[in-house]
């Protein structure tokens, strides 16, 4: 059974690695998702129009200074969304890696 054991050892080695996140990539991805998401959400409301355009979404202006539910606001929202998403993704990846490596 030597051969079987060797194979299973190799397979074990192959499939027992620890996943480490690339914090930069995760930050970039989350940043884009948030930025584009906010950009689309804003413009969707702008296109729909109505009496009180984006009365709830505009509350984001509490945090994203200068943000409004308008086309220009969507560009500003994109920048904010990207920045926040980027920081969150980067932080998530960095912290996960630290803890995972510490535990390993």
């Amino acid at each position: 059974m030597e051969n079987d054991e060797l194979n299973s050892l190799n397979e074990e080695k192959l499939f027992s690695g620890l996943l480490l996140l690339n914090a930069k990539v995760l930050g970039l991805v989350l940043g884009l998702v948030c930025g584009v998401g906010l950009f689309i959400a804003t413009n969707w409301l702008v296109i729909k129009g109505g009496a009180h355009v984006g009365q709830n979404l505009k509350l984001l202006g509490q945090y994203f200074v200068g943000y409004r539910v308008s086309f220009v606001g969507s560009l500003i929202g994109f920048v904010y969304g990207f920045a926040v998403g980027n920081i969150c993704g980067g932080f998530l990846g960095w912290l996960y890696n630290k803890i995972a490596l510490l535990r390993e």
């Binding site: 397979e11 996943l19 998530l92």
Partner: protein
């Protein structure tokens, strides 16, 4: 890469003083001799039979050619494939495989096909097989010591008993419980999990398989070995037929001479510089002079072999059936496998209305089958062929019998220990190497046997290959690697793709991030101040009971968010790992089921 024959240019004379003695003119011995020529070393082959090829020779009876057991040519080793094609040129047929199993009066397509098997077995038996398979997956039997457990654990007891038990026991002449599981593991190598994953990840597997088609020399495998012989002789080597080695002298850890019997010409002795032996390892030990220590001799005596005989029946019609061979799984007849040579190559039978059928019987030297007279064997084979409904007794017009002793090394309970003793002893000789199926007492296929011969020849010329690694390292079965840059890169990619997420780390990181976001969001509003601080954010208190937009509330929110996101993150990581494992398990099972498709081909 092996240099081609054309690399042996005229004028490149062999060194007469540099010779290698090769015992045995089968695939391993001839390949070793062929390889020696590339290094200007003169090979001298001694073959005890009257023709080369060993068990893969082609015999002839009248104008009918037949193969001793049906030898398909298929290999993953590029150098061997190249060598075959170089030798055979246009005389190398590509044959579409067709074979079936005969069981309880019915013919089943083999490799098994679900619809065909279902129709033959009927719905009740099919469901039983399925349930038995599921049971084996849920509660396999351990330890997995023998062949029976090995197969039953993978495919279920019912499938094992239906399709594999009887035939396996016919081949090996012993209960499946006595066959070692490592024999199964060596012979029946499924697609490795790694390869299966590579195929799954990098596109469809370009599976080339013995299952679908194989190559075959126009006039049987013997044609290949005759060409090897011609090539060796043409380039300065010697192939001596009807020469049986009877003594091998040694001194101070070196083989010094070999004595061989030339029949009527008597005994002759030749000094030895290097020797490669493909004769049965137990026999090699026996002819050593001085004899080996008793434990070695006892170990050699204890190695056992399965023999084989083929009864060739000449039938007065063509096209009896379209298969190249049929596995006979019924216990009420002795025949194990039936060959229809005209379906291997039309040139195996003469033109005209007749054909030849090979009835294969697995036996042991000295048992009742082995001792039967040729006439009795022919009578029995004819009766069994008729009983199976494949021909009428009146169609059978002639027959002959060929006996092949020591056809298969037996992997019984002691073989491994015995082999280790012999191997350790033989390794003390600095100029002796053993190659091939019987030379190493390993159930190698033709390509692996050839490779051992080739590497032994390279070792003679200075390399240091471990011949015992062949077949352990090199995947034989049916997998054509996806052509990626290199295996290290593939391994790197796989390791990254299939690495597990640390659930606790991911959960903690997610929780911390979520907690910080809501904490900062609360503090931010407090710092900003105003008439109605956090009138919307406070709605979170609907879920996070006790939360308010205050500094204390920020800490409460942190705790709530951390806990919620912790659970959420852990669930994501856990599920991701779980599905990854399930995916790998599915690939592994799929790969095992693939090996079931041609399990019997490897018995």
């Amino acid at each position: 890469m092996v240099p081609s024959s054309s690399d042996l240019k005229e004028g490149n004379k062999l060194c007469p003083e540099s010779t290698v003695i090769i015992l045995g003119g089968g695939p391993a011995g001839l390949s070793a001799a062929h390889e020696c020529l590339h290094y200007k070393v003169r090979p001298i082959v001694f073959e005890m039979g009257s023709m080369v090829g060993g068990i893969s020779r082609t015999e002839a009876y009248k104008e009918y050619l037949f193969d001793i057991g049906g030898h398909r040519f298929f290999t993953q080793m590029a150098n061997i494939d190249h060598l075959w094609r170089e030798m055979m040129g246009d005389d190398f047929l590509t044959v579409s495989r067709q074979s079936r199993i005969y069981y309880r009066g019915k013919f089943y397509d083999y490799p098994l096909k679900m619809t065909n098997a279902f129709l033959n077995l009927g719905p009740i038996e099919s469901v039983r097989i399925l349930l038995s398979y599921i049971q084996a997956q849920i509660s396999p039997q351990f330890p997995e010591d023998n062949f029976e457990q090995w197969v039953a654990n993978r495919f279920g007891w019912r499938l094992y008993q239906t399709f594999f038990k009887t035939y396996t026991e016919k081949v090996w002449g012993m209960p499946c419980q006595q066959i070692q599981a490592d024999w199964a593991a060596q012979r029946i190598k499924g697609l490795s999990l790694k390869s299966a994953v590579i195929n799954a990840m990098f596109g469809s597997s370009k599976v080339k398989s013995l299952i679908d088609s194989f190559n075959y020399p126009t006039r049987g495998p013997g044609m290949m070995w005759d060409r090897f012989k011609d090539h060796i002789e043409k380039n300065g080597g010697e192939v001596n037929l009807n020469c049986r080695a009877t003594g091998i002298s040694h001194e101070n850890g070196r083989i010094t001479s070999v004595t061989y019997d030339r029949g009527e010409a008597g005994l002759e002795t030749l000094p030895v510089a290097q020797i490669i032996s493909s004769i049965p390892i137990s026999r090699l030990v026996k002819i050593l002079d001085p004899p080996p220590p008793k434990p070695v001799s006892d170990a050699a005596d204890d190695l056992s072999y399965r023999s084989f005989l083929i009864v060739v029946l000449i039938i007065n019609k063509k096209g009896l059936f379209s298969d190249q061979w049929i596995y006979i799984h019924s216990p009420h007849v002795q025949v194990g496998r039936i060959q229809n040579f005209e379906n291997w190559s039309k040139a195996m039978v003469p033109e005209g209305p007749t054909s030849s059928i090979g009835m294969e019987y697995f036996c042991t030297i000295g048992d009742s089958t082995w001792q039967m007279t040729d006439d009795t064997l022919i009578e029995r084979a004819a009766a069994e062929l008729a009983e199976l409904g494949l021909a009428q007794m009146t169609d059978i017009i002639d027959g002959t019998v060929i006996r092949q002793p020591l056809a298969y090394p037996v992997y019984d309970q002691n073989y491994s220990d015995n082999l280790a003793v012999i191997r350790t002893f033989l390794e003390t000789f600095s100029n002796l190497q053993t190659v091939g199926r019987n030379g190493m007492h390993r159930y190698n296929n033709m390509d692996h046997s050839m490779q051992t011969g080739i590497l032994a020849a390279k070792n003679v010329c200075g390399d240091q290959y471990n011949l015992w690694q062949i077949n352990e390292d090199e995947s034989y079965l049916e997998e054509e690697q996806t052509p990626l840059v290199n295996s290290t890169l593939v391994e790197k990619i796989l390791r990254k793709s299939f690495a597990r997420i640390d659930e606790l780390a991911f959960a903690t990181a997610s929780g911390t991030l979520a907690g910080l976001i809501i904490f900062l969001a609360t503090i931010w509003l407090i710092v900003k101040g105003g008439a109605n601080v956090g009138q919307h954010l406070r709605l979170i208190g609907q879920y996070f009971i006790g939360y308010k937009v205050t500094v204390a509330g920020a800490f409460i929110a942190f705790a709530y968010a951390f806990f919620s996101a912790f659970l959420f993150g852990w669930a994501i990581a856990y599920l991701r790992n779980l599905f990854l494992v399930l995916y790998l398990y599915r690939i592994k099972k799929k790969s095992e089921m693939r090996s079931l498709r041609d399990l019997m081909d490897h018995l």
